[in-house]
């Protein structure tokens, strides 16, 4: 101990104050514990304890091939929905950064208005659009093409879910894209990059954090989708949530339903952990406006 070491008489007081900012999160924290934490705990406990303590529910899940097929399909459909969302949202979000404030407002409203309409209503609209005698097929036939089967197929489910989830992709993408300094693209051009090269080497890498953020949100939300696949899908496009519903509400097998939920949760975490190294970007916010 040196005599020159600064004394900090206010330190104990400060320590007392240090937790105060965290107190601001208390309402949210309480809500989280009450509506997420507690039910989650119950699900885990029930999956391990009903009808008796043990792993029998998990043994059942992994023992029945149909469950594994549905689990895999749930991930496949969610991945397709994510891909469709990225492809649709990327140019749209870019357009939002390129236009004036008025047009941008219109574009934002176009994203948000469907958001304000109930998911059930939107899904039922898709039934009308997609069904065999629906709008899309009528148009195709009147244009001289053969009709396509969309309703009760995986394609139909992906289309419907992508439409519902699109805003979750557009908004994070837009918020990242509007921060990209377009003068960097100009710099790339001056260094000899033709426009497409400048896009792929400069703009696209800088927009990836937005793609990742949107993709994670869309993918995770898609995993738990229930209404859309139930209404637009057929028996061959059942997703895990439908199986859970059957187990819990029709068969009253709360333990099995719980086990399915836990498996989905863990599988999601594993997938995110695998994806994390790819998504981690080393550069910080420098060079941005």
């Amino acid at each position: 101990m040196s005599a020159l070491e600064p004394t900090t008489p206010s330190a104990p007081q400060r320590a007392g104050w240090a937790w105060r900012p965290y107190a601001l999160t208390l309402p949210a924290l309480l809500l989280l514990v009450a509506v997420i934490g507690y039910p989650l705990l119950t699900i885990v406990l029930r999956s391990l304890s009903e009808p008796q303590w043990g792993l029998q529910n998990y043994a059942w899940f992994f023992g029945a091939p149909v469950n594994l097929t549905v689990l895999q399909r749930t991930f496949t459909i969610s991945a397709w929905v994510t891909v469709v969302c990225v492809l649709c949202a990327y140019p749209y979000a870019y357009l939002m950064t390129a236009v004036g404030p008025r047009v941008r407002l219109v574009l934002v409203l176009c994203v948000l208005i469907p958001f304000w309409v109930s998911g059930v209503v939107r899904t039922l609209s898709w039934v009308i659009l997609l069904q065999d005698s629906g709008v899309i097929n009528s148009l195709l036939r009147s244009a001289g093409f053969d009709g396509v089967r969309l309703i009760r197929t995986q394609t139909g489910v992906v289309i419907g879910m992508a439409q519902v989830l699109l805003p979750f992709m557009i908004l994070p993408l837009y918020s990242v894209m509007k921060g990209i300094d377009l003068r960097l693209v100009q710099a790339a051009r001056s260094l000899g990059a033709r426009p497409s090269r400048a896009f792929f080497t400069v703009y696209l890498p800088l927009s990836l954090p937005g793609v990742y953020a949107g993709a994670i949100i869309v993918f995770i939300l898609a995993l738990g989708f229930y209404i859309t696949p139930a209404l637009l899908g057929g028996p061959r496009s059942t997703m895990l949530s439908t199986l859970v519903q059957t187990q819990v509400l029709s068969l009253l097998q709360w333990g099995r339903g719980g086990a399915m939920g836990v498996v989905l949760l863990i599988a999601t975490f594993v997938l995110l952990a695998l994806a994390a190294p790819v998504m981690r970007s080393r550069y910080r916010e420098a060079g941005r406006r």
Partner: protein, 370 residues
């Protein structure tokens, strides 16, 4: 000292280049020849057209009319990425997702240069700007001055015959700016490339340039060396923009022997006259004005009385702002050995009429200089 490298620069010819945005003329018939290997500075206030000129040369902006030759070939309509011109921006424009090394290698990668050669040239360019130890850092880990040096390395690594710089030191503090000015001068000497440099800072222009083109309202007012612009300004705007100056305005009378100007009742005479029907003003550099207490013997032929409005000690001497009878301000520099004057003191300013530069009045100069 390195001798000047062999001349590897491209000549630039701007021939009555105009650029209009609707009814606003950003460039109004600009003609300028830049010699191979020359350091040319485009100087002017903001909105004067200097950056537009740079963007036209770089290919970021199309011309509305006129011709632009780089190295003797027309580049009108040639896209930026095919012009092979290095550009350094005020905002650095380093790619934040690439290391310093990859940033500098970027133009070489685009040109399909093999990895060994690429590494060599990146190292050489980074050494030239003294950033050789930073190749593995990201731009966000560097200071502004370091980032700008990397940007400079990236702009010269592909050996362009022409380097454009748009206020590259504008975002840096004074000390760093002065040091980097000398670095840029050294690099220009070593490369032998044509440099076109945009700034609104006349001191920076004087330090760096072989020649300076002074821009005002989309036109070039004068092109010349720093000395030419200071000693022989072609317009009042140039005279006021380069260096300190005193402008005398008043009732003018001209005859065969010279011009007499009456400023608040006192008449001064210059042994020259302007041709044509223009209203003449006199422009005087601070070192051409002598300051003394009233009543003393005067050496100069002309004298004006005024009061000291501001006295600034500069170390090597003093600078005075003197309020003249008509309310205008004269700027005088006096050496340390001379007398000193206090605020509010009545003084007399003397000058030799031959040192007064007669210029046509240009009332726009006042508004554009603010």
């Amino acid at each position: 000292m390195n001798p000047r490298a062999e001349n590897r620069g491209a000549a630039i010819d701007l021939d009555t280049v105009s650029k209009a945005y609707g009814s606003f003329k950003a460039l109004d018939g600009v003609s300028l020849r830049i010699e191979p290997g020359e350091f040319m500075t485009l100087l002017g206030p903001s909105g004067s057209g200097k950056t537009t000129t740079l963007n036209v040369i770089a290919g970021f902006t199309d011309v509305t009319s006129g011709q632009l030759l780089v190295g003797g070939k027309s580049v009108v309509g040639v896209p930026a990425h095919k012009r092979n011109i290095g550009v350094v921006f005020q905002h650095y424009a380093l790619f934040p997702h690439m290391t310093v090394g990859r940033n500098v290698a970027y133009p070489l990668t685009l040109r399909g240069i093999a990895q060994d050669e690429r590494k060599k040239r990146v190292a050489k360019a980074l050494d030239m700007v003294k950033m050789g130890d930073f190749a593995h850092r990201y731009p966000s880990e560097l200071s502004g001055g370091q980032q700008q040096r990397v940007a400079l390395a990236r702009a010269i690594v592909f050996d362009p015959p022409l380097l454009l710089m748009d206020e590259p030191l504008g975002a840096l503090d004074k000390k760093l700016r002065e040091w980097l000015q000398l670095e840029i001068k050294r690099i220009h000497r070593e490369l032998g490339t044509t440099f076109v440099y945009v700034t609104h800072d006349q001191e920076e222009a004087l330090v760096l340039s072989d020649r300076i083109a002074v821009f005002n309202r989309g036109c070039i007012e004068q092109v010349g060396t720093g000395r030419q612009l200071y000693d022989e300004p072609a317009t009042l705007f140039v005279g006021r923009f380069i260096g300190d100056s005193t402008v005398l305005r008043g009732e003018a009378k001209s005859d065969g022997t010279g011009t007499a100007l009456t400023v608040a009742g006192e008449t001064v005479i210059a042994p020259r006259r302007l041709a044509g029907e223009v209203h003449p003003v006199m422009l005087l550099r601070p070192e051409k004005l002598a300051i003394r207490r009233p009543g003393q013997d005067a050496a100069g032929t002309n004298r004006l009385s005024g009061t000291i409005a501001e006295a600034i000690y500069l170390g090597s001497g003093s600078k005075y702002e003197v309020k003249l009878g008509d309310g205008s301000t004269a700027i005088v520099r006096s050496p340390l050995a001379g007398e000193s004057f206090g605020l509010g003191e009545k003084v007399e300013l003397c000058f030799d009429g031959a040192d007064a530069k007669l210029l046509p009045d240009d009332s726009t100069a006042d508004t554009t200089l603010t």
